[in-house]
């Protein structure tokens, strides 16, 4: 502020030439202008802000969320937290199933998952990667309550009936040193508290579950004598007593128990899949979207009968290009005609272009359905003319032909309008000059007129291509099975197969493609120059 005071000091007449120029209120003009500019910028931003925030929340955030969903894979580590940890050291390449520890971890995880009904969701998720896992999880969920682990419960409560009392457990599990001594049991106990809470039961009244005794057995068998001797927490005597006699209990192999429910649990492929999809983020959906798959032994091609996405992307590209070219073919002459006619006539004809543009998409699609179907208007006319026989009507719908025709009609205005706005600016005198210099009609058009109309072609092409590549409604209604686009597959995964991750990955790939084209469009046309007729 010191400087400001110096600047605002009244200038003496002699210093005017050297000192800063001042505004009417005595503030240096430079600063005054800068402030005005800043205020103007802020006002502009304040006007834009509400809309920008609205778009960011209602539109951009959903898109970002979708991008995130295409790599998100927390379900495995959330549903099977202990198994994921226990599997870390297991080597898929060894070709042998994991050890008893992993089965024990899986046992506790699945008991909780089954109570929370999350195991079927996990099953469906992993089923995208390996067929059959879904039914394996469902079957295991049904069988997990009937495992022979109740043998531990019986044995331990026979040794000391106090273990059947929730109070004993609560007392032990409240203590940090006890939790350190019995780590698996402590972790299982936290699952137990969640299960009880989810069922709205009182933990002090619920009889402890079988899996708690299983983990207690495992912890006590694994505990070193030193650790036991050093334990001074609650129920120390009871814990030591149980530990001393734990050797007398017949162990139950959890591996055998799982294999009894379903022998697939010995399949290293199953374990490999769980291990491969343990991380929180996975490229798996993207790999599936390009017909690859992540297997325990690395990235592989999908089996040939499941390769559909590359074909679908290629088909979407091919059909969009076909639609784009038919739009140029039909749009160029019309735009040329419109731009060469007097304004009054061309305005009337322009209405014929704008009317389809303003007509509901569903109306136009249903019109094509009416026209193209086998008992439809076009076939009727052809039969009446004797071009095709009545029993040999043309199949023009539910295939690629139908989609291309209907979409060319729907997108044609988007080609004509940019072409027209560019062609209007080409002076007709150029053509006349070329002709008077001896060019033929064709040369004059090709060498003089056409190059000047190229920006319009570029703008129209990108617009039509962008719009057609993501089209959903028309291919869905007139495309049948061979005329569908990638967007139809995305919709299928969202609403029917519920494989949202794959839908998000396919959507992301499509989005990247479109944004790249959008960027190109912005470069050559400029987004603010989009003309809506």
């Amino acid at each position: 502020m010191a400087e400001a005071t110096a600047d605002t000091a009244t200038p003496t007449p002699g210093s005017v030439a050297t000192g800063p120029m001042l505004a009417a209120d005595g503030v240096p003009l430079k600063r005054s202008l800068a402030r005005a500019l800043r205020r103007e910028k802020l006002r502009a931003l304040a006007l834009i802000a509400p809309l920008l925030i609205f778009i960011l929340v209602s539109f951009i955030a959903p898109i970002v969320d979708m991008l995130f969903r295409s790599v998100e894979n927390e379900i495995v580590s959330e549903t099977l937290p202990r198994t994921v940890v226990a599997l870390k050291d297991w080597d898929y390449e060894s070709g042998e199933g994991p050890g008893e520890d992993v089965y024990a971890a899986l046992y506790v995880d699945l008991v909780e998952a089954e109570e929370m009904k999350t195991h079927t969701r996990l099953g469906s998720r992993l089923n995208y990667e390996m067929t059959g896992i879904s039914s394996l999880f469902r079957k295991t969920g049904r069988g997990i309550g009937r495992m022979d682990t109740d043998a531990y419960t019986k044995a331990i409560t026979t040794l000391d009936a106090a273990w059947n009392e929730p109070a004993t457990w609560i007392a032990v599990m409240d203590d940090d040193s006890a939790r350190a001594l019995l780590p698996e049991t402590a972790s299982a106990w936290s699952s137990w508290t969640r299960i009880v809470a989810a069922n709205n039961d009182d933990i002090a009244k619920e009889e402890p579950g079988d899996f708690l005794f299983t983990t207690l057995y495992r912890d006590l068998s694994a505990a070193t004598p030193d650790a036991l001797a050093g334990y001074e927490g609650p129920e120390a005597a009871r814990v030591r007593e149980a530990a001393a006699r734990i050797g007398s209990i017949e162990p139950v192999s959890l591996r055998e128990q799982f294999l009894d429910i379903d022998k697939d649990w010995s399949d290293v492929q199953v374990w490999g899949t769980i291990q491969a999809f343990s991380p929180k983020y996975t490229p798996g959906y993207f790999l599936s979207a390009v017909d690859l798959q992540e297997t325990p032994s690395g990235i592989e091609q999908q089996p040939d009968d499941q390769k559909i996405y590359r074909l679908l992307f290629k088909r979407t590209m091919f059909m969009s290009l076909a639609i784009m070219f038919s739009c140029i073919l039909l749009g160029y002459p019309v735009a040329f005609l419109l731009s060469s006619l007097p304004l009054r006539t061309s305005n009337v004809l322009l209405i014929l272009v704008l009317l389809p543009f303003w007509t509901s998409l569903l109306v136009r699609t249903s019109a094509w359905k009416v026209l193209l179907q086998q008992q439809g208007v076009i076939n009727d006319v052809l039969v009446w003319m004797g071009v095709v026989a009545d029993n040999d009507r043309l199949v023009m719908i539910n295939n690629q032909f139908g989609t291309i025709v209907a979409m060319t009609h729907i997108l044609l205005p988007f080609m004509i309008l940019p072409l027209y706005s560019v062609m209007k600016t080409i002076p007709p005198t150029y053509l006349r000059a070329a002709k008077s210099l001896g060019a033929t009609n064709w040369t004059a058009f090709w060498r003089v007129y056409f190059p000047q109309s190229v920006p319009g072609i570029g703008a129209g092409c990108i617009l039509v291509f962008i719009l057609s590549i993501g089209y959903y409604i028309t291919p869905e209604l007139v495309g049948g099975t061979t005329g569908t686009f990638i967007s139809n597959r995305i919709a299928y995964h969202i609403s029917s197969s519920l494989n949202w991750g794959l839908a998000a990955a396919l959507g992301t790939i499509l989005l990247v493609l479109v944004l790249a084209l959008y960027w190109v469009y912005d470069r050559i046309v400029g987004i603010d120059n989009v003309n809506l007729g």
């Binding site: 500019l37 103007e40 502009a44 931003l45 006007l47 834009i48 509400p50 809309l51 920008l52 778009i55 960011l56 539109f59 951009i60 955030a61 959903p62 969320d65 979708m66 039909l330 002459p333 019309v334 304004l343 014929l352 272009v353 009317l355 389809p356 303003w358 007509t359 509901s360 998409l361 569903l362 109306v363 249903s366 094509w368 359905k369 009416v370 026209l371 179907q373 008992q375 439809g376 208007v377 003319m385 004797g386 962008i466 959903y472 409604i473 869905e476 967007s487 995305i490 919709a491 949202w500 839908a503 499509l510 479109v514 944004l515 959008y518 912005d522 987004i527 603010d528 989009v530 809506l532």
Partner: protein, 392 residues
């Protein structure tokens, strides 16, 4: 133009008659092949065309000649095939009559310079013909559904009764169904509830932002513009998927508010584009003048700026309205059965139970779009006139 007076009549025998005969031959081919013998049809058509050209050119004036041709052909058609034939004959007569005088008066050379060779004239007229076909391709599918919506049967094509112009072949039953079926009525109600709310939201926010964007010093203008226009560019299915996932997290999926928010976002680019386009021609000294005379910013906005940019705002609003009113992909995912809109109901109708009621709805929608298009056109012209950009 002076050219009209100097235009010479082409030779009847060497030009008008053969060309008309050719056109007759084409008609004859179509008719002949539908009745079994294309060759016979072509020959008959050639003869009829030649005779028509000769008679009309030699004995009758333009107006009466065309009328006479239409009547004679319609009568002939009626005698051969009843009402259906009369309409066919009428069309044929009108076309041939017009063709003869068009050729004879030399008007076919109107669009080309006088020195053009016959090849160039032919090419020019073929070009016009091709453009006519493309316009036909653009308009015909929309126009075809209008008569079909009055079908008395549950068919999607013209029944023999309709072709014979038998009143029994037509009925309003599909319209009655639309107005009495609770599904359709509920869908109409939902559309009418959603579209105006979404329009209001996008117009109010969009106009403010467009005014902000049109100031001279806006930081990150390009980036902001790209973000605001993006709902128009991002494929609908991706917007729909993203909104479905995100709105389910927020509990907005399947609610009225969710659909309105989604539709407002989709309509915003149209408002931004039309309003910024209007603001390009807005004279900023007007606001300065208003401020100079003591108006505060709010008064300036409502009394000076708003009336001038109103046409742009209204057409942006109409774009936003039609976007929401016609939108089906996003509402399909973001909405639930309670927000089933008219396009959604049509989509189901087309995919599952194909009911011709759709055609009645489609006709109503076509009428609405014609009304909207007319409004936008009038507004555009008014706005251009206000800004002095166009003489008309």
């Amino acid at each position: 133009m002076a050219l009209v007076e100097t235009r010479t009549h082409p030779d009847l025998m060497r030009f008008t008659m053969p060309v008309t005969a050719l056109a007759g031959g084409v008609f004859g081919f179509v008719l002949g092949s539908s009745f079994g013998s294309a060759t016979l049809g072509v020959l008959a058509g050639l003869a009829v065309g030649a005779v028509t050209a000769f008679v009309l050119q030699s004995f009758l004036q333009r107006k009466q000649g065309r009328l006479a041709a239409a009547i004679v052909f319609a009568l002939a058609g009626f005698l051969i095939a009843g009402a259906k034939g009369a309409v066919g004959g009428l069309i044929g007569g009108l076309v041939l009559g017009w063709l003869v005088y068009w050729l004879d008066s030399g008007r076919y050379r109107e669009g080309v310079p006088t020195y053009a060779t016959p090849g160039q004239v032919l090419w020019h007229n073929s070009f016009l013909f091709i453009c006519g076909l493309i316009f036909f391709f653009l308009i015909a599918p929309i126009m075809v559904i209008i008569p079909l919506s009055f079908n008395a049967e549950n068919f999607f094509t013209f029944t023999p009764k309709m072709l014979a112009f038998d009143p029994e072949g037509y009925s309003l039953k599909h319209y009655r169904d639309f107005f009495s079926n609770p599904d359709w009525q509920q869908a109409l109600k939902n559309s009418v509830r959603i579209a105006p709310a979404a329009t209001l939201l996008s117009v109010s926010l969009g106009t403010l932002a467009a005014i902000g964007l049109s100031q001279s010093h806006v930081p990150f203008r390009r980036a902001i513009m790209a973000v605001l226009i993006s709902p128009m560019i991002v494929p609908l299915i991706i917007s729909a998927a993203g909104m479905y996932f995100f709105y389910s997290r927020l509990g907005l999926q399947g609610t009225y508010v969710g659909v309105v928010l989604a539709h407002a976002a989709l309509g915003i680019p149209f408002v931004i584009i039309t309003v910024t386009a209007t603001l390009v021609g807005f004279d900023k000294s007007l606001t300065r003048a208003a401020a100079n005379m003591g108006a505060d910013p709010v008064t300036t906005f409502f009394r000076v700026q708003m009336p001038l940019i109103l046409p742009g705002v209204i057409s942006g609003g109409l774009f936003a309205f039609i976007t929401s009113f016609d939108e089906v992909v996003v509402v399909l995912f973001v909405g639930s059965a309670g927000q089933k809109t008219l396009p959604w109901q049509m989509f189901i109708g087309l995919r599952e139970q194909i009911s011709p009621t759709i055609l009645a709805v489609a006709t109503i929608l076509v009428v609405i779009s014609i009304a909207l298009l007319t409004t936008v056109e009038l507004l555009r012209r008014r706005s251009e006139r206000l800004r002095g950009m166009s003489p008309g």
